[in-house]
Amino acid sequence: MKKRVYLDHIATTPLDSRVKEAMEPYLSKGFGNPQSLSALGQEARQALDEARGKVAGLINATPGEIIFTSSGTEANNLALKGVAFAHHQKGGHIIVSSIEHYSVLHPARTLRKMGFEVSEIGVDKYGLVDPQEVKDALGEDTILVSIQLANPEVGTIQPISKIAKLIKDHNRLQAPGSGLQALLHADACCAAGLIPIDVEELGVDLLSLSSHQFYGPKGVGALYLRSGVRIMPLIEGGIQEGSRRAGTEPVAEIVGMGEAARLAMEEMEERSRRLLGLRDRLIKGIREKIDEVYLNGHPTKRLPNNVNMSIRGVEGESLVLSLDMEGISCSTGSACTSHALKASPVLTALKIGPVLAQGSLLFTLGKDNTEEEIGYLLGKLPPIVKRLREMSPIYQG
């Protein structure tokens, strides 16, 4: 089989074989419905409870604060719409950053169409949100602030705990007895498993997770909902997940997410240390071997697996396809399918010009990548860039 170097872990991560093993009983004999009173049902219920505890453990929450969903996307939708629908009588103002994932931005825009006021906060050239700007945007009718823990495209890690502190200060000044409190949601889908997440330290009220971003199965995610915070369910008609998310639970997937969370917690230090070494070697290697390359995102406040570089004079898509022919999987820009129309909205928000934004290349490393694979990429990339630049009608070498 042809060599395959997978450097696109932001798209999805492979299922860990240990996770698969943990799931298997629930794909065969353990098919019970956790809501059934029979022994088979109770066995499934117990598996569900254990998984809930493991996912809670990954973020220092309590099991009762975890709502399983079908994906990180659903968790983000539930956070935005669930809070908006539950608190609309108190206030109608929501704050998001301009570089949120579409699963935050699109629900926010839909809420705007329904009459909510939505403020989009910009970022600096590194992709960082300025907490002071969030503070300035807070109003007495603000019900929710949603800022990602890290950006999936440029890897920038946001100062969530600082933002949380400012929101708490703001909440203290709200009229006593009015019940007006701004909640804080963080989309942690691309950060979970890569950096430590402690909901108490971060000071968030809601936080989204996606299983397949940390070697768990697809089809399952979770929303952390701080005890005592009210949301309205989006999917109704059953008592599952505390009646906050109806529908018979996909037990095998949830068990898989739990085991993946446990492994991520147990191995995080080791994984991150290795990833940091590989990441920095890759950035250094690209800079040494290719001229006119730029690192997008923050130099240090970034996820340990993220390498987003713009290479002048080449188009990201051509690079991705050329690398794919050499067996290397990576990606470019954000998942805007109408690529040709505009550069990545995230890079545009970082004020990176359209020419450089078109030449962005995104490598997201994973726990199983090796030094040898990075070496292979560093051997293949320079001649591809050279060839593409020679063909480029705009690059003047």
Binding site: H106, R109, C336, T337, S338, A340, L341, K342
Partner: protein
């Protein structure tokens, strides 16, 4: 103007209207007219730009009741 096909993209955001239009266009014949219903203002810049790249003709856009009606002729 004879409309050969209508695409309902109300409530959808970029890139969904473009992606669905691309699929729809593949099934149409040259000179067929596609009507697109949408409510995201981004379609007003996205579709003229997309037509320039793909060669389809952007005929016109009508606005009313918060809905945009865009008319495209297949190349």
């Amino acid at each position: 103007m004879k409309i050969d096909e209508t695409l309902d993209a109300v409530g959808l955001y970029c890139p969904a209207p473009i992606v669905l239009t691309t699929d729809k266009m593949r099934k149409l014949k040259s000179r067929d007219v596609l009507e697109i219903l949408a409510d995201d203002p981004e379609v007003l810049t996205d579709f003229p730009a997309w037509c320039k790249i793909t060669g389809h003709r952007f005929l016109k856009v009508e606005k009313g009741n918060g809905i945009f009606r865009l008319y495209l002729e297949k190349a």
